[in-house]
């Protein structure tokens, strides 16, 4: 904290007097589920306690798809909030290019962010022309298969330890009246689950070829054909899962109605809120238990330019606070995500988080799809996937053809 104030004073733009002025800082985000809200309250609490400023919460429910347009509208409409969430990646790219975001480079250099942010690719996503415009908050990885111990106990079979076992156990679950695979019906969930299966089943190289080089031939090739077959199979497992939201799906695991769910590590927050213990009530298989690798998506905070020195001071203080050790620990424990700092020891981490940290340490990481594709391409993939997952008559071959077509035009 001291460092920040020293920095602010040294920039000479802001006198000590104004730095002490209290500002209301409006923070917009789309964290509204139980675990998420608990996590973001940590930021709010620390900001209110440790600074003279006030956190004005601007939560917008309905997920990023609902919230982002509103945020972008506010920023381009000339009524920016104090700080706003975006995902790691390219969602705010043009806003930064248009010069609408506050440059955090001085703060980052003063605090030495590049020394402790791990993996460093997160900071790269925040960087444009050598300047830093956002604070990475957490790392979320998609590649988890969550399993309900209760469901498998009810069916009288052991909890699977990888995807193949999961597939094999599915009929038994069906017989016991359980839904083998819980899936929310929102497009981003369909697309995310497919992507997880792609990394696990097609392998890292094929995935990279498609995502980084946008290689349509690989996308149309045999490796991906396997993924589509598997997805078609998974589609049958999830046929009776009639929920919209991901946490409703997770809730089916908690109540033992469903066996498994392919979902990111944020699902862990729901298990925690429900008082469940990793390893006892539920277990988690990174990379579907096949290919232990995680992608490093997650959230970052951007600070729109406001032309008000008081608010700017508060913005910098919040940026500094969000990446501080204490805040990182407090936030990520509640959120179920991994901290962006390599220099903290999460002793309080539970089983699943520990697994994630291990994999992170080994460097078996991939970028998130939000970093590899534009929102536009992501959207097209989501349209394809949500249709594929929900329409049993949509054949794997047709879907793959469409997929390759989108990849060939991807940006």
């Amino acid at each position: 904290m001291k460092k920040t104030i020293a920095l602010l004073a040294s920039t000479s733009l802001i006198s000590v007097g104004t730095a002490a002025m209290a500002a209301d800082l409006e923070v917009t985000h789309w964290w509204t589920s139980g675990g998420e809200a608990a996590a973001v309250s940590e930021f709010a609490r620390m900001f209110n306690e440790n600074t003279e400023h006030t956190w004005v919460d601007g939560a917008i429910a309905g997920g990023g798809g609902t919230a982002r347009p509103i945020m972008v509208g506010r920023i381009t409409g000339g009524d920016p909030m104090g700080a706003t969430q975006f995902n790691h990646g390219r969602q705010a790219e043009e806003l930064v290019e248009a010069g609408l975001m506050l440059d955090l480079t001085e703060l980052a250099e003063a605090e030495g962010w590049s020394d402790f942010v791990n993996p460093s690719s997160l900071l790269d996503s925040c960087t444009l022309d050598g300047r830093i415009y956002c604070v990475p908050i957490n790392i979320h990885s998609w590649q988890w298969l969550w399993l309900s111990h209760k469901a498998y106990e009810d069916a009288g079979i052991p909890v699977p330890t990888n995807w193949d076992e999961f597939v094999a156990a599915a009929p038994a679950l069906e017989e016991a009246g359980k839904i083998p695979l819980a899936m929310g019906q929102q497009p981003w969930q369909s697309n995310g689950a497919f992507n997880v299966m792609a990394i696990a089943l097609a392998g890292t190289d094929a995935w990279k070829a498609v995502h980084l080089d946008h290689d349509a031939e690989v996308a149309a090739g045999p490796d991906y054909a396997r993924v589509f077959e598997a997805a078609a199979q998974a589609r049958a497992f999830s046929a009776r899962s009639n929920v919209q939201d991901w946490n409703q799906a997770t809730n089916m695991l908690i109540s033992g109605q469903a066996g498994g769910q392919i979902m990111g590590d944020w699902a862990q927050g729901e298990f925690q809120v429900a008082g469940q213990v990793a390893g006892e009530d539920y277990s988690c298989l990174p990379g579907l238990g096949v290919n232990e690798i995680i992608s490093t998506g997650g959230d970052a905070f951007y600070f729109p330019k406001v032309n008000n020195p008081e608010i700017e001071a508060a913005q910098l203080e919040l940026a500094s606070l969000m990446i501080s050790k204490e805040a990182q620990v407090a936030f990520n424990l509640k959120k179920g995500s991994l901290p962006v700092r390599g220099d903290i020891d999460l002793t309080a981490a539970n089983d699943c988080m520990a697994k994630g940290l291990e994999i992170l340490a080994t460097g078996a990481i991939l970028p998130d799809t939000n970093q590899t594709f534009s929102p536009d391409t992501q959207g097209q993939l989501e349209d394809l996937m949500v249709e594929f997952w929900n329409d049993p008559s949509y054949s794997a071959e047709d879907a793959q053809r469409q997929y390759a077509d989108i990849i060939s035009r991807a940006d």
Partner: protein, 303 residues
């Protein structure tokens, strides 16, 4: 003759622009909204549909690329088809049901006020609320399907919101529930405007009531139907909230509609160019329907 006008005593010279100045001042909001928002906004949108604008609008021309992509996008095609089906069915049913209810209420019944309020109140509720409630009632796990199965009909199947083939029916049930009340009131108002003597005449002539409605009354209510038609059609084109609240476009993309494609593309997908191309197509569709109609109206007036 008029150019050589003599100067007239006691009269001020007419300046075209200043005549009825107050009325022209009062028309300023209309002019601003009409030109500034509707025409200006539309032109701006059409213009940018020929660009590759992503998150922020920019004038980087790409010709018809956005339109080519639009018409090769499956979701757009599904959306158009859905809107056409929903639109036609909803238009027909809203008009028929609205008229039917109005005719029932017009039969000099008891408790007319009560029934009318019952049919009209859903109009007071937003599509968001409508969508939520019907989503719940149609939920197969505890809604109508569950109740009827609970009564012993184990094979009863009614889960429109989870069946891609039936989802439009689900939307229709909710949409009609919300929208027919207003049309009913308009029709009722129209029926009340019909001369009592017409009824007396048809009674003397021995024409059955239903036939009177179809042959005599409906043709007399043409202006009423036009008003109702404008209201219903303008609502259909904008169909968005209901879908979002009820199905979010699902299952899969089975209940996607054009307005939702526009919104998603513009804002979530951050592809303004594509979104503007889609909105331009919506406008073109509206224009194709409206312009011949407007032209006919205009010609009728002339004669």
């Amino acid at each position: 003759m008029s150019s050589a006008r003599r100067v007239r005593d006691g009269a001020r010279p007419p300046i075209r622009l200043l005549r009825n100045l107050s009325s022209k001042i009062a028309a300023i909001p209309m002019v601003l909204v009409g030109l500034g928002v509707f025409v200006g906004g539309t032109l701006w949108t059409v213009l940018h549909s020929f660009t590759d604008s992503r998150l922020l609008p920019r004038l980087n021309w790409v010709g018809l690329d956005q339109y080519e992509r639009l018409w090769s996008t499956r979701r757009w095609l599904v959306s158009i088809e859905n809107l056409a089906v929903y639109g036609i069915v909803s238009l027909v049913l809203t008009m028929c049901l609205g008229f039917f209810l109005a005719a029932l209420l017009d039969r000099k019944i008891r408790y007319e006020d009560t029934f009318r309020t019952i049919f009209l109140y859903p109009f007071a509720l937003s599509f968001i609320v409508t969508g939520l409630v019907w989503q719940w009632i149609l939920n197969p796990e505890f809604g109508i399907q569950a109740i009827i199965r609970g009564l012993g009909f184990q094979n009863f199947n009614f889960d429109p919101l989870y069946n891609p083939d039936l989802v439009i029916i689900g939307l229709l049930i909710a949409g009609l529930w919300q929208g027919t009340g207003l049309i009913m009131v308009i029709m009722l108002a129209g029926l009340r405007g019909i001369d009592e003597d017409i009824w007396k005449a048809t009674r003397v002539d021995g024409i059955p009531i239903w036939k009177t409605y179809i042959i005599v009354i409906i043709p007399m209510m043409k202006p009423v139907f036009v008003t109702a038609l404008v209201l219903v059609t303008s609502g259909i084109v904008k169909l968005y909230d209901l879908v979002v609240a009820m199905t979010a476009g699902g299952p899969g993309i089975a209940s996607e509609v054009p307005a939702k494609y526009v919104y998603d593309t513009l804002f979530t997908r951050q592809n303004l160019g594509q979104g503007f191309a889609a909105s331009t197509m919506m406008l073109v569709t509206v224009a194709i329907i409206l312009i011949p109609w407007a032209y006919m109206q205009f010609r009728e007036k002339r004669q």
